[in-house]
Structures are given as structure tokens and as C-alpha cells.
Symmetry: C2
Subunit: 327 residues, 2 copies
Amino acid sequence: MVSLTEGQKATLSPNAIKFLENVHHLPFAGLLSNFLTMPSRVPSLRQGVEAKMAPGEADLIAKHGLQLKEITIANVPVVVIEPPVIHPEKESKILFNIFGGAFIMGSPRDRAALTMAAELGIRVYSVNYTRSPEAKYPVARDQCFSVYRALVKEGPPGGLPIDPADIYTMGSSSGAQLLLSMFLLARKEGLPIPSAGAYLCTPAVDLSGAGDSTVFNARDRDIMPYSLLYSMVAQNYFEEGVDLQDPLVSPIYASYDTWFPRTVITVGTRDFALSNGIRMYWKLREAGVETELLVSEGMWHGFVWDPVVPEALTARAAVIKFMQNKK
Amino acid sequence: MVSLTEGQKATLSPNAIKFLENVHHLPFAGLLSNFLTMPSRVPSLRQGVEAKMAPGEADLIAKHGLQLKEITIANVPVVVIEPPVIHPEKESKILFNIFGGAFIMGSPRDRAALTMAAELGIRVYSVNYTRSPEAKYPVARDQCFSVYRALVKEGPPGGLPIDPADIYTMGSSSGAQLLLSMFLLARKEGLPIPSAGAYLCTPAVDLSGAGDSTVFNARDRDIMPYSLLYSMVAQNYFEEGVDLQDPLVSPIYASYDTWFPRTVITVGTRDFALSNGIRMYWKLREAGVETELLVSEGMWHGFVWDPVVPEALTARAAVIKFMQNKK
């Protein structure tokens, strides 16, 4: 059960209350986290999540009339999601998306990708990177980078190179770690950064565990105990001896400058990643980057993709507004 | 003691860690809160705070060369704080300030007022309203309103009426409740709203106790147990039977529109009022008001006025930037 008092319910929508009341943590998840997330258990963890998410994904595809195809770019599978109508001004633009799921779960055609294709009205290129433990850091990041480089150097199969100024970017949770690590690699290699606008959704930009919210939202407030997430990542994604404060691993520790695209960040007060979002906001702001931080009352990790919770709809509308740069 | 883990320390400045390590809650404050805050104890509570704050206030006055005088406007004492140099473009402008202190403590020449006079470089009119229990709701609000009305109708003693467009406003904690209640009263009475820019510092805009952060920051995270604050207000400020969801009492429940001035809000993640700030941000934003929410990692109620903590200096610089409307 998630802790939820009457005073807390008073500032939540009925949909959000219903959602939180249906969250059931595994008993003793904290004590058992290493066992529950060991590599041999990953297939069943994935299966559980996929079974839970599939109906909602199918609904979104049907509701918005989205077309999906899987292509290969730079030897990496990529899912292209296309809305039925694309505004002329967005015809040449794309959203480059990196999905989340603690590096071990998740899908390039998840709610995040589908929802943004529909609501931003844009073609989404969603990298189907190899998850962990099959691939460990930095394989997934390098795959994302290879796809990005191919898109701006050669273009998608049968198309022309895409102008980095026409590329929006998005990363959710662990996907934001991959995205920023990819930006930093692109900088190192002298490749231009995609600059149409970046969306960091509840970003896991510090994998060291530091931060206020990784403590106060660790147990009975967010949708998953933080120890479980941490064990997932530690046991499956990292090679032995990785430096968790290496900026390519935990991009909060990198230096940024005005090369970084204008950025919007969403988090919630129940979110273990709240502090990540706040720290990234100040880091980018102090670097002179146009940044907007959207913090939602009582919301959990990844809440923003919920199809009915009003708080999610409000936050998404604000993200879309920022991405479209409409004042 | 305030709870503070190594992971939390990792995202705080050494100054902030030192501050938090020196916070000592009264033992059994939760159980004893009604006793500790009963009206007969208010004088000693005030004395304790004043003794603690006086040296810092004297330092600020000396350091910035501030001039203070006490005048009377509409039969209400007002402290005018003047910085040694006022930029010509700010000569005609003022900051109308309402101090905080749970309605029972605090002073019109507190760190907030002195710091803003110096850092915004502006004359501050700081209303010395009657605190509780000597005066109960809505006496203080009505005093603030009378001062504001006199300033825009007749001007300060010996001066000309002040254009509401030249009036910045600020309210800290309970001061923000008074400020917004005053705005709502001004609207009712057909008086123009001060429109140069509003600063809601860790605003106590919901006195009903609702919100996520009044729960998770209630005990060992903020600088004062929330039950103590709540008892202070309940026992001293409210008349019996007051409706805590009356918009004039808890201005989060009012309706706003674009008559509301452009507004900046600061809160911290340890702050009991975090949710108040977040909710107010969305409320104003959804009403079409230009609003900026600044959430600081690991910061406590009122942190922003600390003279040395780097997180406070950063947040204040962002507030000043917003108030000066510099892009």
C-alpha cells in the first residue's frame, strides 16, 4: 500500500486517488530487492509489465489512428510512429525518443512514445535499444548515438539527412540518462546537438542514489520501492567497478553550457526522481539554458503518461506548449 | 534533530548541511504543540525568535547601509526601508511587503524586508500589522488593505499617490496569505491590483492543512514540526468556527484570472509549504498568469533569506531576475 492521508487526498483528483489506492508493493520488497531483480528474473519482470501495459498501448494506437513500422538505422532497430495528420510545419521535424524502464524493461512503442506522437502531432523515432542484462552500459547509449548520427548524417532509409534543429528529443526516466549521455558523446565527437527542444520526463540523471527525494520517496510514497529500482540497475545495467559519478553514467555531474537545447522537465512530489529533476533544472538554468521545471502535486514516477488522471493531462499540455515554443 | 542521510547530504552545500545539523526540535513537540503555542506563551515565543534574529538583522542594515523609518499610513504603522542608492528607474517604485511568522511572530524589518530592499534596490513599505492573538483574522489583512488603499489613493505622507503598476508585492509564509487575501479584497472593492510583480515566498495559502508536503515534511524534515505551526495558527489567529476553505482565509481556494500580477514562488523540498507553492503555481498558470515556480533541493521553510547558504543566494538571484523582468 502507498501512504495516503485525508489531507493528501484533499489535493488530488479522484482519478489520482484511485490510482494510488491500487498500488500494491510486494511485501518485504526492500529486503528482497536483490533477489527480486536478479538477471534470471528479468524475463518474468518484463512479461509482467508488458501484459499490464499492452491494452493501454493498443487503445492509444486505435484511438489516435497511429501507424507504426519498425525500421533499421545503423544496424539498430527503430520504431517509427506516425500520427494520421502532420501539420505542414512539423512535416520535416521528428521526435527522437528513448524509452524508460530501468534499462531492463520498457518498449519503444510505450505510452510515452505513442502519446507524444499523437499530442505533439509529429513522427516519433523511438530507438529499440538492447535492454539489460543482455547489454550493459554503454551499449544502449552507443546504439542511440549511432541512430542519431545516422539520422543527421545520412537520414532515415530512403530519406535525406535531418537537420538537428528539426529534431525534438525525449527521454523518460532511464531514457533521460541515455539521452543526456548521448548528448555528451555527440559533443565529444563534434556532432551537432538536436536543438528543437528536449523533454526530460522524470529523469534518472543521477544513478548514484544521491538526493533528497530518493530518501523521502524511497518506500511507501512512490509506485515502486527505490531499493528495487536501484537493485535492478546495479545488478543488470552496470559492469563491475563503474564510477557512478562519471558524467556519462550520471549526467547530472557533467558541465553544461548554452549548447544544451531548451528543455522542459516533469516530476511529481511522490516521485523518487523529484530531486533529479530539480537539480537538473538548476544546473541547466545556471548554465544559461532556457529550462522549465514542472512539478506536480502528489504525482508519482511516470504519472505524466496516464491517459485519464487530470494531473497528467495538465502536465502534458504544459510540456506540449513548451515543446511547441508557444508563448 | 532533522533527518539527514549521506545520500541527502550529497546534494546539499556544506553551509546547508551545517544549518540542518543545528536544527533541534523540541522533544515531544508533536504531543505538546497545543500547550507550547497557547496564547499566554506567545510573548516568550516572540522573544526567543527576536533574540535569535536581531544580530542578523543589524548586520544586514549595517552591511547594506539601509535607512529605516517608521511612519503611519491609514492609522497603521509601516516601516519604510530605503537602500542607499536607488536606480532612477526604481525611484517611483516600491515593494509592498507583508512579513511572515505564523501570524503571531515576525517583524516588518526582518531579513526578508531588509534583504529585498538591498538586493532589489528599492524602497520597501513593510506593514507593521497587529499580530495574533492580540488581533485575530481578518484584522491584519484589513490593516494591510488600508495601507495599500491609502498608498494608491492618497500616497504616503507628504507624497503623491503611487501607481499600482509601480508596486511590487511580497509576502512570506503567513504574509503570503495576508497578501492574497488583500488582493481578493481589493478586487471586491474595485481597487486596482499592484501589478509590478508579486513574490510569494514559501506561501501559506492553504491554512486547512491539505497537501502532500504538510504530511511528508511534517515531522523531522523541516525546521519546525508542522503540528506546532498549525496549533499556533489555530489557537491564536482564528476566531472560533472560521471556514478554513473560505478563499479569503485559504486563498488557494479562490478563483484567479489575468488580473493577478506576474508572480514568482519559491519553496524547498523539505518545506512543509512545498505543496502550497506547487498548487498555487498551477492555479495561476492555468488562469493565464505568468508564473515561475522555483523549487530548491533539500531546502527548508524560509531558507531563501539565509545570508550565506549558496542555495539561498541562487534562489534569491532568480527571484530578483524575475521581479526585474529581465530575460
